[in-house]
Amino acid sequence: MDGELKSKIEDLIKSKKVFLFMKGTPDAPQCGFSAGIVTVLKQLQVDFGSFNVLSDMKVREGIKEFTNWPTIPQLYINGEFIGGHDITVQMAQSGELSKKIG
């Protein structure tokens, strides 16, 4: 991965405490899994940043390589990769997610 793309991804992840790479936008998600994470974050009333990977092919492919995770959405908290849709939903149900967000 080229350095410019890597630092763009790193800057995005650091730009907010909670950051989501998703398909579409929080108001108009373009995939069921992305919509699912947005719903979870909204229920927890979390202020989060997001990036629409459908708007940028390079980021869409780059984030998979960066995280070594083959699918999108991907959620980060305090710069740490938390997981995709299923892990996020499971952690929300167990209360672990709100603990992580603090």
Partner: protein, 74 residues
């Protein structure tokens, strides 16, 4: 790729695992896999999911649009 093929791909990659594949919308595209595997012991959820994804590396690039995962250690 059939659901049986996905199941056998995961089982080959994670020997001894129990794998159940669900197709809740009956579209063959939005698939859910329930995987129980002793090798998950002591691993984080992210690591467990990565292990399953690794068995389907090429399929996830093209054929499988959405794979829901639920992993359990034994």
């Amino acid at each position: 790729m059939t659901l049986e093929e996905i199941q056998s791909r995961i089982q080959t990659g994670l020997p001894g695992s129990k794998v159940e594949i669900l197709d809740p919308y009956r579209d063959g595209v939005h698939i859910k896999a329930l995987v129980t595997y002793s090798g998950f012991n002591g691993k984080s959820m992210v690591e467990q999911h990565r292990m399953v994804y690794a068995t389907l590396k090429d399929e996830l690039k093209e054929e499988i649009h959405a794979l829901g995962l639920e992993t359990r250690s034994e």
